[in-house]
Symmetry: C2
Subunit: 95 residues, 2 copies
DNA sequence: ATAATAGTTCAAAATATTTTGAACTATTTA
DNA sequence: TAAATAGTTCAAAATATTTTGAACTATTAT
């Protein structure tokens, strides 16, 4: 059961997720990929430990900025711009 | 001499500024005002100390989310949506 | 000149976020 | 079955952010 968030709470989640250089690097890497890629690949590409990666991917996922699918051992992630558009697009209206 | 920021650094500054409930309250209050208002008025309205207010107003100002003008003893602040539009509007393009 | 008022600055304390490494689960390969 | 691989979880350590109160500047009012 995932708690239902208000517009503001959701916005804060997204802004927090975006307010970090490592996570922007992740998103930047994902943007260059048309296909979805494994967490390991991304982590290696930007040079972070897998523990740290796990932490950041979870945050991005919770914020709705990436989608993730588990295939056997690996987790494949991809950019999801739609949440951003929805929440940040109407940010000033909802404020 | 204010350091020149990259697009990403500016974006992080804005996202950090927006990733906080107190600062969203400030922006929310400012949104309701057509005129600019004193820091004291805002602080009182949302119930924060003036020291804390000073801290948050500085952050918002640095991020370019508010404008400020000093008139005699008081500092009048107002919403500035334009920076947000410029930086966040092209966020995915610049990423 | 003295008081009061609006806001800033500073350093310390309180909180929150991020990184790290070890131990863990689950899956695949030898 | 045993070893290797991908990722998660946990708690501790390292950092970063936020709050607090006292001391400060500058302006206005008595």
């Amino acid at each position: 059961m995932t708690k239902q968030l208000s517009k503001n709470e959701q916005a804060i989640l997204i802004f927090k997720a975006l307010a970090d250089p490592v996570r922007l690097e992740i998103l930047h890497y994902l943007k260059q990929c048309d296909h979805d890629v494994s967490c390991g690949e991304v982590g290696q590409a930007i040079g972070i430990s897998k523990t740290s990666g796990s932490y950041h991917f979870k945050l991005l996922q919770t914020a709705g900025l990436i989608t993730a699918r588990k295939e056997s051992r690996e987790k494949y992630v991809a950019l999801d711009q739609s949440t951003f558009e929805q929440v940040v697009g109407h940010f000033w209206d909802n404020l």
